[in-house]
Symmetry: C2
Subunit: 399 residues, 2 copies
């Protein structure tokens, strides 16, 4: 287990059992940055966004945010004005205990949509939680934000003299009833708020947006990037020699968290890397890659270790992007399963291409490479198969 | 079993075993209209469309089409120029045997994508097939077009002095490896080609487009409407007293076929009717309804008889349509599970609303009604749940 969000200096964290989840597992977490910590965030674009998403976003816009309070158990989404009040109340209480302004505490929630937050239990646990935060608390923070995750997810990286750490939860882009992907990345570099937002958009957004478990966008997805400046007062900014190394380290932490998320996707047996190239734009490439990664027919074929190039072509053709079938080449692993839009007849002959493709698709990870033309647009999307366990987790698990 | 495509006078049909499918079940079908039959068609918009789709569409555009040759087993998609030649060859051979112009024969294929059509077997079966067509052949036609369908699908309706019949196959919008939804509707009314196209767009398109099994658009989807004129020479046209009755009968046949298709969807245990109203436009309503019907989280919840209103709100909010959360009301059956965007707290109390919603969602059919505002846009989409059997059929079945 890595230190995660407390790997970088200037951050303290903790996680406790507040009794919000029936399971009795840790369900309330707090991350506190030193005075002067700057913050940037990325949020779900779901129009039915949760109360804490609205509040955290508005506080970031106002330039605030040095601490983060996270509860699991209830998502505080579809809870109306009561949900807004609950988010205000619990962050105000944390601020009071930490002697911060209320606006400096950013709320995050994950859990059942619609169910009101269990406020009495949450409020009763706050004094203990604020006392428990420590520079060694990253591990307990990562555990307390979990819902249906099977393992806690942390990462760290070094950037010259700076450290970057992070934690995430969410068994895919969305975890089922317990709707949320949450991620927190911290650094001890000093970064101005605007530059931090630049880093979040350049290094975090594309990486987390490349994830798809089930094409379902959560009501609570939140990615926060916090910089404490504890490593020194010299600001890291574009044009400085330190900027590149810090960007890379933030990217490396995000890569690790994203990989941990997709490998813990609900019911996953095989992770699918869909690489599209030759599109007219990166956006076109992304649309095609998502169409393939999200196709139930492709996902079940991967589960069954059936290479099935026809299903990949079907998904490419129905993505909505203008493509010329005769320009489409597809590889599963290194095996060419469609060339110029045609599946080689040899594919259907016993012992030929198909056997090689079956070997390529059977494993913990498979790459599908799709070339759709001569354009410069490219994209990578990380998906997974659709297994009996996905149906079981989401069909039999009731809130 | 109904007469289906031969219920209307002026049509003969048959289905035979050509040996295209390993199962040895009927796999080649022919529908022949009397001289003077007019035809209209609707086709997949998948950019990777099959060879027979391209050929049938071009022949309809040229004003041709009195006979339809359908093979199951191979979809003749992603087969390149060889596929085009195969479609030309087999329709030319049928035309020769029936003394028609080659352009008058419309090809349809359904089955494995990429695998070349087994032409020697197909060509050898054509003389027997063309001899077998009869006014009593509707039943064998409907059987020979099946792939993973578990039952043959036919329908009929009367329109004053006219008859309308139809047949369809496809275990949902798309059936898996065996990619295709095919539907054929016939009438003995005399309808000019342009008016028939109007009827196809007004009465058939919205009904078949309302179907979704797995959000996957086939490479081969085809709906053909044929009018023999055998009931009399008086043309049925807009403005004539007969137009309304004929429109209604065509709609009734389509309704029946669509219902038969969704109730035979792969792995279905519960059919979901998603009704959206109050949207800014019908298109917006349709986008929202499809987002809900296609959501893997909603589909698995239906499979598990878990009403889970949060998942419905999540899907509405992420559909891409501008909605105001506070205007969203949701009912499962008659049970209000979200009002003004808020799930009533009473829902989470034992024995309350949730019990009623669980009763409403457990059954062969459930209606989800979603009001998103005061607009006049509305839509109905027919979907189904996502079960273990869907994963099994598509994961374990290999081409």
């Amino acid at each position: 287990m890595r230190a995660g969000v407390t790997y970088a200096a200037g951050f303290r964290a903790a996680g406790v059992v507040a009794g919000l989840k029936p399971s009795g597992r840790p369900d309330l977490a707090l991350l506190v940055g030193d005075a002067g910590t700057t913050a940037a965030g990325l949020f779900t674009t779901n129009r039915v966004a949760a109360a804490p998403v609205h509040l955290a976003r508005s506080r970031l816009v106002a330039g605030c945010g040095t601490a983060v309070l996270v509860n699991s158990g209830q998502a505080n989404a579809a809870t109306g004005s009561r949900g807004d009040e609950d988010a205000l109340t619990c962050t105000a209480e944390v601020a009071s205990l930490l002697a911060l302004a209320p606006e400096d505490v950013l709320p995050c929630s994950t859990g059942v949509i619609g169910e009101p937050v269990h406020m009495p239990e949450l409020l009763a646990a706050l004094p203990g939680l604020t006392e428990a935060v420590s520079p060694e608390g990253g591990e307990s923070f990562a555990e307390a934000i979990m819902t249906t995750d099977t393992v806690a997810k942390s990462a760290d990286a070094d950037a010259g003299g700076y450290r970057v750490g992070g934690a995430a939860k969410g068994v895919g882009m969305i975890s089922p009833n317990l709707a949320t992907m949450l991620a927190f990345v911290t650094t001890d570099a000093a970064v101005a708020r605007g530059d931090l937002a630049t880093l979040a958009h350049a290094e975090l957004r594309p990486r987390f947006n490349a994830l798809t478990v089930d094409a379902c966008m959560s009501t609570n997805d939140t990615v926060l990037l916090l910089a404490s400046g504890a490593a020194g007062d010299d600001r890291v900014a574009p044009g400085e020699s330190t900027w590149g190394a810090l960007s890379e380290a933030i990217g490396a932490v995000a890569d690790s968290l994203v990989s941990q998320l997709i490998h813990d996707a609900e019911g996953v047996t095989t992770v699918t890397l869909v690489r599209v190239e030759g599109a007219a734009s990166d956006q076109d490439a992304r649309t095609i890659a998502k169409a393939v990664a999200d196709s139930p027919l492709v996902k079940t074929a991967v589960f069954g270790s059936d290479p099935n190039p026809g299903r990949i072509l079907q998904a490419v053709g129905s993505s909505g992007v203008e493509v010329s079938p005769s320009l489409i080449d597809v590889w599963i692993g290194d095996v060419p399963v469609a060339t110029g839009g045609v599946i080689p007849p040899a594919y259907f002959v016993a012992g030929g291409l198909r056997g090689s493709a079956e070997t390529a698709i059977a494993g913990p990870e498979v790459t599908m490479r799709i070339r759709v033309g001569e354009g410069s647009g490219r994209s990578l999307v990380l998906g997974c198969d659709l297994s009996y366990d996905y149906v079981k987790i989401n069909g039999e698990y009731t809130t």
